[in-house]
Every structure is written in C-alpha cells, then in structure tokens.
C-alpha cells in the first residue's frame, strides 16, 4: 500500500485528464489547441515546482531539526560541565576549610608546647630534687641549708608548674571554642572583643614568627548573636593573606583591627595592614573564586571568596577592599549584631 502512495496523485490525474481533453480537441481551431497546450504545460511545470518546493522545505526542516538536536546536546554537555565544576568548587571549598582547620591545629600544638614544656621540665627538676632529699633523709643527713634550698625549689617549680598548666588550660579552652565554632558554624551569643582576642591568640605563632605587631581597638562589651566561627575564619583569612602576600620574608609590619558601632544594630570592622597592597587591576577580582597571584606556590585563590561568602551569607553583611597606593591593604566589613 505504502509504495503506491503518491503525494501528487490528484495533480497527476488532472494532468492525464487534461491530456485526454487536448486529444479530443483535434477539431478545435489551432489557437484554442495551442492555448490549451500551453496551459497544460504551465500546470505540469507548476506541479514539478510544487514537488521541488516540498523537497526544499523538507530538507530545510531536516537541517533545522539536526541543528536543534546538536544544540540540545551542547546544552546538556554545558550543563553537565557546569554541574561538575560546581561539585569541584564545592569540594575545594571543603578542602580549604579542612586545611584552615589543619593550620589551626598546628598553631594550637605549637602554642601549647611552650607552657607544657616548661611545666614538664619543672616537674622533672622537682622530681630530681625530691629524690636527693629522700636520700639525704634516709641517711639522716639533712642540713638546714639543704632543706631551705629544697623548699625554695619546691616553691619555684610548683609555682611555674601551676601557672603554665593554667596557661595551657586557658589556651585549650579558647582554641576549643574557635575550633568548635569553625566546624559547627553554630549561632550563639559572644563578646566581640573577647572573641577577636581569642582568634588572634590562636594565630599567635604565625604572627610572632614573622615579627608583626598586631593592634586591636575594639570597644568592650559589644555582644553579638551571630556566627563566631564564620567571623574567626574571616579574620584568619585576612591575617594569613597579610602574612603570605603583604610582606617580603624578613620584613615585619603592623596589622590593625578597629571595631566601631555602625548605626544602632551593626558594627564596622576595619582590618588594615601596611604591606605592599593590591594593584588596582586586581582589586576587582580578589573575591572571585580561584583568583590568586600565588598559583603554584600554595595559593588556591579561595580564601577571600570564602570570606565573601561568609560575610554576605551567615553574617549577613558586606565586605569591601581598598588599597590606597603605597598604603597597604584595607578590608572593611559591616555586619549586624544579630543577623
């Protein structure tokens, strides 16, 4: 059935009929016969053209369909690529968080090492003194001077052991808070000045190593109900960036943090270093993910992107960077006390 199907069946039948008619017009005047013949010729040409036009538009539509198909395929590919890029970015951001936690743990270990070391050597000195005292005691040979010297040693060492253990315990408390806040991103009430000091203490080893001076000017008693972990990560990134990008090795500078009230319910935190600053051309891109001038030597370019996300996300504020030529780098964040 299919093979006998003909799109132009009716037209062909009409042509046959016309041909028939023409033959029966044998007797008609020549002018009439010629007229009919050329009408038939015109009609048959028109049918041929119709066939051709149908083919033209079929081909055009086929082309269009395959272009559309290609377009769909490309779109799907682009979407897939975007999807995996997002996943990659997500895992990099995650890795960056872990890395900053790693740096924190490293800092903690280093910082606690000192008081624990002092306490340890005091304790062993005390143990030694006690052993020799016991020997003298067993030999019933203790002089008054021996005993007085021992008592001095006991007083000095126990004093040092106590104060250093307290220092260690205090460090552990503040690190624990910072570490918990970083990982849990939990919302709670905290005293801003106290919290900034704790955060800076956790970066102490890095700062001291490079010999930088840190200034903090923050009114006491500002209580925030926000995400301290996010805030500490923001400050941590500012400080690490100053250390990594702001100064030449061996060069030391001043980092300062100033906090002021901004209207009734917000604070403005200004972070400044007096390092080499950021060139005008880069200033607009530093918050972009993966923008770094230290590619190949440890920079992933995510630090300030995370800062931007934390400030505009959980902290519900805004962040801005400036670098007046020759005057270091300045970051300003304005965040509500209670987002």
């Amino acid at each position: 059935m299919l093979s006998s199907f003909n799109l132009f069946d009716a037209e062909e039948k009409s042509l046959e009929q016309a041909e028939d008619l023409r033959q029966r017009l044998e007797q008609a005047p020549e002018a009439v016969r010629d007229g009919i013949a050329s009408l038939i010729e015109a009609y048959s040409r028109s049918v041929r053209e119709q066939r051709r036009l149908v083919r033209v538009s079929d081909r055009l539509q086929a082309q269009l369909a395959s272009v559309n198909q290609e377009l769909g395929k490309r779109k799907a590919e682009a979407e897939d690529a975007l999807e995996s890029l997002k996943a990659a970015q997500e895992s990099l951001v995650q890795a960056e968080k872990l890395a900053s936690l790693g740096a924190l743990v490293g800092g903690v270990a280093h910082e606690i090492n000192t008081p624990v070391g002092i306490a340890l050597s005091c304790a062993s000195h005390l143990a030694d003194s006690t052993t020799s005292m016991r020997k003298l005691f067993e030999a019933d040979d203790i002089s008054v001077e021996d005993f007085e010297r021992f008592m001095d040693t006991v007083k000095d060492t126990t004093g040092l052991i106590l104060s250093n253990c307290e220092r260690a315990a205090e460090l552990i408390r503040s690190f624990k808070q910072v570490a918990v806040d970083r990982t849990s991103s939990e919302r709670r009430r905290f005293d801003l000045a106290v919290y900034i000091r704790e955060t800076l203490a956790s970066m102490g080893p890095h700062l001291r190593q490079a010999g930088h001076t840190v200034r903090l000017a923050c009114p006491e008693g500002i209580v925030m109900d926000s995400y301290p972990g996010a805030l500490s990560q923001v400050l941590g990134n500012f400080v690490m960036n100053s250390l990594v990008h702001g100064y030449d090795p061996g060069q030391s500078g001043t980092l300062s943090i100033t906090v002021e009230h901004e209207g009734a319910g917000s604070v403005r935190l200004t972070y400044v270093d007096d390092g080499r600053g950021i060139p005008e051309d880069n200033l607009g891109r530093i918050f972009d993910p993966f923008f770094t001038t230290k590619r190949g030597s440890g920079g992933s370019g995510l630090g300030l992107h995370i800062v931007y996300n934390l400030v505009t996300g959980p902290l519900a504020g805004s962040v801005n960077a400036e670098s007046p030529a020759g005057h270091g780098t300045l970051f300003t964040i304005v965040i509500p006390l209670s987002p």
């Binding site: 041929r48 053209e49 036009l53 083919r55």
Partner: protein
C-alpha cells in the same frame, strides 16, 4: 544597460550583475522577510537584460549557502526565465556552487537543473 550591484545583508545575497561583461552572480544566504523586496529589482534587471540579450554569451554564478522556500520559488522562476532566454538563442552557462560537505545544496542544484533544456548547467563543488 547599467550594472546592478547590491551588497549582501544578513538575510539576502550579494547581487553582482555585470551586464557589460555578461557575468552575473548571486552569492550568500537568502531568507528575507519580504522576498519580493529582494527579488523584485533582480527580476526587473534580468528581464530587461535577457529581453535584448539575443545570442550573447552569458555566465551566471549561483553561490548560495542557505535559502528559504520563497527564495527557492524565486530561483525556480529565474531558471525558467534563463531557459527561455537560452531557448531563444542566448548562450547561457549556469554555475551552481556548493560547499563540498553540503549535500543539501548540491541536491537543490540537481533538482533545479531538471527542467533546464537549453542552459548549460554546471555543479561546482567548493572545498
């Protein structure tokens, strides 16, 4: 008779009719919104030219990469006009150019040449 030169637009072909030299060409794409605006002047010029062409030697290049259905109909009308002129004595050669990888354009050329009995028709593949 004056030559006819019309620059191509995004939707209409470049027209270059050098009547003095007997060389005509249409080149580009053709999917105008108003086919008669594009083809009107072309047909007017061709009618005038072929009306007086007698047994001149004329070559006509078609180098089209895309056209829509109205343009296809216009091309068929044009080919009929060319074939009549050739039947009346004009020595006419039509060159139909198509990109080597463009089967569709090649098939259009084959289709359009079916009805031509007096014109010398060449299919020319372009790399």
């Amino acid at each position: 008779m004056d030559n006819l030169t019309i620059a191509a637009t995004e939707r209409s072909p470049a027209v270059d009719f050098d009547f003095a030299a007997g060389r005509l060409s249409l080149k580009g794409e053709s999917y105008p919104e108003d086919a008669s605006a594009v083809f009107g002047p072309i047909f007017a010029a061709l009618e005038a030219f072929f009306g007086a062409a007698r047994d001149r030697e004329v070559s006509f290049d078609f180098d089209l990469s895309y056209f829509n259905s109205s343009s296809a109909k216009a091309l068929m009308n044009m080919f009929q006009m060319l074939d009549q002129a050739a039947g009346a004595g004009c020595r006419l050669t039509v060159n139909w150019f198509y990109a080597a990888d463009d089967d569709t354009m090649k098939e259009f050329g084959e289709d359009f040449s079916e009805d031509l009995s007096h014109v010398a028709f060449n299919l020319v593949s372009v790399e």
